[in-house]
Symmetry: C2
Subunit: 336 residues, 2 copies
């Protein structure tokens, strides 16, 4: 039995960094829609975490032009993010149809930028669309964009369904897929009435979770970590309407080692969390890549993390992390 | 356009009355498992609401005998309630298999008692059972019991799925089905992160809601009101783990008139809420049946109801009702 694992620092290909006090823990208002905004935000983030290589994204919206894409690519911006309208926190200005973006996609394909898709269509009772099938009903959009731009790198983010896994596997080498830590652990029962496990996309059926686990276990190189970690102060979760999001950032690797081991995939930790994402993005240089050593140890995840109280906007509070107070099997021993 | 409706007081064929302070607003601990317990509880309830005819139920459990059924029937107890293990509040002692209850069902059939089924099987990730499909996967139990005891009156309670509607319609005249107020209005999106709409069974897909609405609209006589109204103090809803239940009792008829009218079924209000349930139970005499007059009026449901503070256990708090603060189209003008 393995008791110590040393791997490179993880490459989290989907994370929600914040503004104000919450930024110093890690959706933005207004969205980052120009190269200048992205570079200014990157500079802010780098002050907090000088060693981290941030892959910045623009927000797909009707004012984005092929010219702006070329400018962004020259400035080192790596992706463009698409949210369907209204499906998650601060996504009211999201998209409804992709056709108008084809000139932008063409420019992205030429520049080697990555299209990051939040793969859900908006709920619509008339069409029987709700949070449980919104991802499955999105998948034909992914297929259409891929067929129209076969050399465009596309990532289906935070996949939650067997249908998504099947679709991504069926498409070409330019289509990748991120999976969060929490969707490897949760099913619908776990967020029914439990606000801290509520996120978008919502966790689905046990058979969907099994598909996510299996594609990691088989070591498929186009499926890699994107935590979608999103902290909300606990008072924004525990109330009549909970914000959507699960906070995993501080413990991504201990969570992953614990969960992967539970389904016999501990040996895939490095590929899933560190290698496959970097390969998909063809990352050639990073400011710094450290070595993280995890050790087998039984302990409980913290019940909360405090934030704020000094500087910036003075906002103060606590964030309840994923699996708060629950047992984990692995701990970070050192980062060097 | 109709602006005034006068109908008999509603017959709510499934409601959670309470203990202690919460009883005076309306799952019990321990469950009511003997005739004596049921009669003592009925007496307590009648002190609070002397004009209401309570149809009392026993709790299906391994200590229940055919002899106890005959005794209960003689004492006027009308039903036996079955909960699968662990699927809702205080149901840890529920059933897993019905075979051992066949002698009890036989006695109930002879005595004309009603079997009230909470129609969900327990979640089991290994078998892909979760809160979203637990009802559909239960339906073969209903069919089996009906086929074994075709003269036993059975009610599938709080149906939430198209599959349940289809199954009940396919079975004989002795099989009825209750539908709650809130399942006529909610879909899964409405309880995702919204604790006050979280209940068991959970609300399902828009197509399921449409099936519930359609069976009422067509006036099917074996589908009738059972509110499953279940008050929980707001602090038990707004927290890390919300209690399951929606509180509709004080406004059942205004909610129903508003919701039925929204899908063109206002003319079914009396049948659904008053007549069909009484007919299914063959209720011949009631202590009192009043006349309720509803008038068309735009107003907002209360944001909360206070309870307690005097007598009994001194517990005090507030309960947030269904559609709290939301617009309703009908109001109770008088009860006579």
């Amino acid at each position: 039995m393995v008791d110590t694992i040393t791997i490179p620092t993880a490459s989290d290909m989907h994370v929600h960094l914040r503004q104000g006090s919450l930024m110093s823990m890690p959706n933005l208002q207004p969205p980052i829609s120009t190269t200048e905004m992205a570079l200014a935000y990157e500079a802010e983030l780098e002050q907090l975490a000088p060693k981290v290589t941030f892959l910045m994204s623009l927000y797909l919206n009707p004012s984005l032009t092929p010219q702006e894409i070329k400018k962004a690519a020259n400035a080192g911006i790596r992706g463009v993010k698409s949210y369907p309208r209204g499906v998650t926190t601060n996504s009211e200005s999201g998209i409804e149809s992709y056709d108008i973006y084809y000139p932008v996609f063409k420019a992205m394909e030429e520049e080697g930028m990555v299209l990051n898709l939040h793969g859900e269509i908006p709920s619509d009772p008339e069409k029987n669309v709700c949070v449980m099938n919104a991802e499955e009903k999105f998948l034909n959009h992914l297929k259409d964009i891929h067929l129209a731009f076969p050399n465009l790198k596309i990532i289906l983010e935070h996949a939650t369904t067997e249908a998504a896994v099947t679709m991504v596997k069926s498409l070409g080498e330019t289509v990748g897929c991120t999976i969060t830590v929490h969707h490897l652990q949760l099913v619908v029962d776990d967020w029914a009435g439990k606000c801290h496990n509520f996120c978008k996309p919502v966790a689905k059926y046990p058979s969907d979770r099994a598909a996510l686990r299996n594609v990691i276990k088989e070591g498929h190189p186009r499926f890699f970590l994107g935590s979608d970690s999103a902290p909300h102060p606990s008072h924004m979760k525990e109330g009549p309407e909970a914000c959507a999001g699960v906070f995993t950032t501080p413990l991504v690797l201990p969570y992953l080692a614990t969960i992967l081991e539970s389904f016999g995939a501990l040996d895939r930790l490095e590929d899933f969390a560190c290698s496959f994402g970097r390969k998909f993005y063809e990352i050639k240089e990073e400011k710094w890549v450290g070595q993280v050593t995890l050790v087998r140890e039984s302990w409980n995840a913290p019940k909360s993390y405090g934030f704020g109280g000094a500087g910036i906007d003075g906002e103060q509070g606590e964030v309840v992390p994923f699996m708060a107070g629950k047992p984990l099997g692995w701990k970070i021993a050192s980062i060097a």
